[in-house]
């Protein structure tokens, strides 16, 4: 009973209900949407966003932001795709992609935590730099003609039959759950939320604020690079604009999943659930007979609506706390009474 209650109160549970409600509503309009096959397609299709959302959740929970993940995905995809196309081993490609991610994450972390550049500006600049490198590295050309067996990786499923859940998605889901457990249960995992919740307070009890935030930026970029590897296998070619705009989808996924943009609140499970919604919006539009051109517009509207609603609620709560604190200062009426 107690477990049920805890689950029902969690912010992630609200996101879960939202996913179910969304599928039911779309399903009511077009029953084809509720077929097992389509649900699995939605899950499998969300794998890139799931990786991005879980990664950026680290940064958002510490109270920062990273808008360079779209470009990071693009560069990691480009570099690994070129290596695979030219016959290098897959391991070399994976290592190269992760090295790209690590370098970008380190740059973001140093810029924000050492040079004290606001994270939105630092990562926006890095986004431009990295996207530019995608063009420079490829000369603006597409990376095509990738070997079939690398592309087939993304199609491999649990049962071996097409249409079942892919190993990619299982991998991403397992990582999300694993990190969720580490982040909520382990001591150092809680540091991320603590730093985002009250940076000054964290510093005062000896939590390494700078190191924690730098780790968050590093992990975020590494996840974006891993998402880039999956992207190459799923799409089968890489354009210089690969991953363009994905940062908004990943941020929206986190927010939908209950991660607060002001930091301190949220988890990877929520972010992963939000990613399923984000990846499904395009499909949902098709099933509801709208043009999928509305995808980005709807994502943006969802993001703003939720963030504004959340901010208003938080502002009200903090205003109420401030007034309560001020009222507590007033001495009792001389001669007794309230």
């Amino acid at each position: 009973m107690k477990i049920l209650k805890t689950v029902a109160q969690a912010r992630e549970f609200t996101s879960f209900l939202f996913v179910v409600a969304l599928f039911l509503i779309v399903g009511a309009i077009n029953p084809d949407f509720l077929s097992l096959q389509n649900i699995l397609l939605s899950l499998n299709g969300s794998v890139v966003f799931t990786m991005l959302a879980v990664g950026i959740a680290f940064v958002i929970i510490t109270g920062e932001i990273d808008v360079s993940i779209g470009a990071t995905l693009g560069l990691a995809a480009t570099v690994s795709a070129v290596l695979i196309r030219d016959g290098s081993s897959w391991i070399a490609a994976v290592l190269a992609a992760l090295a790209v991610g690590a370098a970008i994450g380190l740059a973001n972390g140093i810029g924000v935590m050492i040079l004290r550049i606001p994270s939105i500006i630092m990562t926006l600049g890095i986004n431009g730099v990295v996207r530019g490198l995608c063009y420079v590295y490829t000369g603006g050309k597409w990376v095509e003609n990738l070997p079939f067996d690398y592309k087939a990786l993304s199609q491999a499923t649990l049962t071996g039959e097409p249409g079942s859940v892919t190993w990619f998605y299982l991998f991403a889901a397992a990582i999300a759950i694993g990190i969720y457990l580490l982040q909520t249960r382990s001591r150092r995992g809680r540091y991320f939320a603590a730093v985002g919740d009250n940076e000054g307070g964290a510093n005062l009890i000896g939590i390494p604020v700078v190191r924690t935030k730098m780790t968050a930026f590093l992990l975020c970029s590494l996840f974006a690079a891993a998402a880039g590897l999956m992207y190459v296998s799923r799409i089968g070619f890489v354009t210089p604009t690969a991953g363009n705009g994905y940062e908004m989808k990943a941020i929206a996924a986190c927010v939908l999943g209950g991660v607060s943009l002001s930091g301190g609140i949220g988890s990877m499970i929520g972010a992963a659930l939000g990613a399923v919604i984000m990846a499904s919006i395009g499909r949902i539009l098709v099933f509801m007979h709208f043009s999928s051109n509305y995808d980005n517009t709807i994502t943006g509207i969802l993001l703003i609506t939720i963030v504004v609603g959340d901010a208003l609620l938080q502002k009200r709560a903090s205003e109420r706390a401030r007034r309560k604190r001020l009222s507590a200062r007033i001495a009792a009426k001389p001669g007794g009474g309230a």
Binding site: R187, A193, I205, L326
Partner: protein, 500 residues
């Protein structure tokens, strides 16, 4: 008692020696010495800006001293960051608790430890039982009252086996029952041999919980000794600058003629967040001084009159007209202007030029669509001349002026609206003596022009110098009201610290 005596004769747990600290050219600590023995509570009192916070932040490793040493249990230590201080067994319970609002009580306490969670939880439960505090450890910190949040902070200190606990005005947001239970907890801590530095603005508390008292003024400790050696009056005197006594003996000042007849501005039972039941009158050409320590509710009172926060009860009357609860633009239009305490935060447009700053409060008078630049220049010129504002040109950005000149620009802006009442909140904080004289001259000129002035200041000397009448606020209420011949630093300080 025997126990306390024995402890006092033992070696001190904490000694600070000759601590100096300056921020820029502002010397905040000028050679501070302080000892705290095991099991002893030392009360640290002092006015705003005396350097208490800076001193405890140095002991907590948040600031590093420019000169001087800190000894803990006889060993010289270097506290380069809070972690180093924690490792030495120092714990600071800040005035506003620094908890993680979205985490549980348990997480708030045990975060940052290396031991097993189960062991930590057991120790935590032991401590809550010792403190006789029944709390659901899974409650989120955001749902706790301030008193409970402070208990969580104390638990954090206990869990770290702290030997030195610093409490920074712990009772400033507590109810009387909560204060009582906090004192019981502090009593238990003392019995355990923990050393306590207790910062407070309430003189009564000094006698209740401390064995020794130290008074800070202007970055030095001016009085230090066993509580039993002093009376309340001694403490109030210790808070005042040494020349204050002489000033008091000056000429018998005449009671001013202004302040008679119908008041320009009145508050009747005015109550809002942070203050209650305020009754006051300000007359034409009168300066009403409003004394009090930080947190007494003075700034909240001013901003609420100015329409920035909700009025809960009572009335504000300007020239016979009820202006209770009007919005800020309406309040300005009716003839009230407010010069805020923190001019950097609320007062100036730093990168705009002098002219734009001066005219910014009366833009609605300066043309319908486009500003009449000539009017703006004339307005600015007249104030620059009258107030002796030192500028190279009207286009100079206000941020590049000195503090005193910035304040003059802010005053000019407030006056450009031809107000009937001006509220000045700490008008000379952080500006040099010469500029201070100029600001006083401006205030006196306003008074001569018949403007009613409400002067909020923590600088008792300033209130004595300028006010025709004065009131002292203490814990959100008016504690005392003084006519001109009774306004002395002594009286004001005693009333502001709740000693009368």
């Amino acid at each position: 008692m025997a126990m306390a005596q024995k402890n006092a004769s033992a070696a001190p747990m904490l000694s600070v020696r000759n601590i100096h600290k300056a921020f820029g050219s502002n010397e905040v600590l000028k050679g501070v010495d302080l000892d705290v023995h095991p099991g002893e509570a030392v009360a640290l009192i002092g006015g705003n800006g005396a350097g208490k916070s800076t001193l405890v932040k140095i002991i907590m490793g948040i600031y590093q001293p420019d000169r001087g040493d800190v000894f803990i249990a006889g060993n010289k230590v270097s506290l380069n960051n809070p972690s180093a201080a924690l490792a030495q067994g120092v714990y600071l319970v800040p005035q506003e608790p620094m908890l993680f609002p979205n985490m549980s009580v348990e997480e708030n306490v045990i975060l940052g430890f290396e031991e097993k969670t189960a062991d930590l939880r057991k120790r935590l439960l032991d401590f809550t039982r010792q403190m006789k505090w029944e709390v659901d450890l899974s409650r989120k910190a955001i749902s706790l009252s301030i008193a409970e949040q402070q208990l969580v902070e104390i638990l954090r200190g206990l869990m770290r086996d702290s030997r030195i606990l610093i409490l920074d005005e712990p009772t400033s947001a507590l109810t009387f029952d909560e204060v009582e239970s906090l004192f019981r907890v502090i009593g238990d801590l003392k019995a355990k041999g923990i050393s306590i530095i207790y910062i407070t603005h309430r003189l009564t508390e000094v006698f209740t919980i401390a064995a020794r008292v130290a008074i800070m003024r202007d970055g030095v400790i001016t009085l230090n000794g066993p509580v039993g050696d002093f009376t309340r009056d001694d403490l109030v005197k210790g808070l005042l600058p040494p020349d204050a006594q002489e000033n008091e003996r000056g000429e018998k000042r005449p009671v001013p003629e202004c302040g008679r007849g119908k008041p320009v501005f009145s508050l009747i039972g005015f109550t809002g967040y942070g203050f209650a039941d305020i009754d006051l009158d300000v007359h034409r050409g009168e300066i009403l001084g409003l004394a009090g320590v930080v947190g007494a509710g003075r700034t909240e009172l001013a901003t609420t009159i100015f329409g920035r926060d909700e009025v809960l009860r009572g009335k504000a009357i300007l020239n016979g007209e009820d202006i209770t609860g009007l919005s800020t633009p309406k309040v300005i239009e009716k003839g009230i202007n407010y010069v805020p305490e923190d001019r950097f935060l609320n007062g100036i447009y730093k990168i705009s030029d002098v002219a734009a700053n001066t005219s910014s409060a009366r833009l609605y008078l300066m043309g319908k669509v486009f500003l009449k630049r000539r009017d703006e220049r004339e307005l600015t010129n007249s104030y620059v001349k009258d107030f002796r504002i030192k500028i190279t040109s009207q286009e100079q950005s206000v941020g590049s002026l000195s503090g005193g000149n910035q304040q003059k620009v802010v005053l000019a802006r407030a006056l450009s609206t031809n107000p009937k009442l001006v509220i000045l909140d700490e008008p000379t904080r952080g500006i040099d003596a010469a500029a201070r004289g100029d600001v006083y001259a401006i205030i006196n000129r306003l008074k001569a022009e018949g403007v009613a002035i409400l002067l909020i200041s923590s600088d008792m000397e300033e209130i004595v110098e300028l006010s025709d009448r004065a009131i002292a606020m203490y814990h959100g209420r008016i504690n005392r009201e003084f006519e001109k011949d009774r306004i002395t630093q002594d009286n004001l300080m005693a009333a502001a610290f709740g000693a009368v």
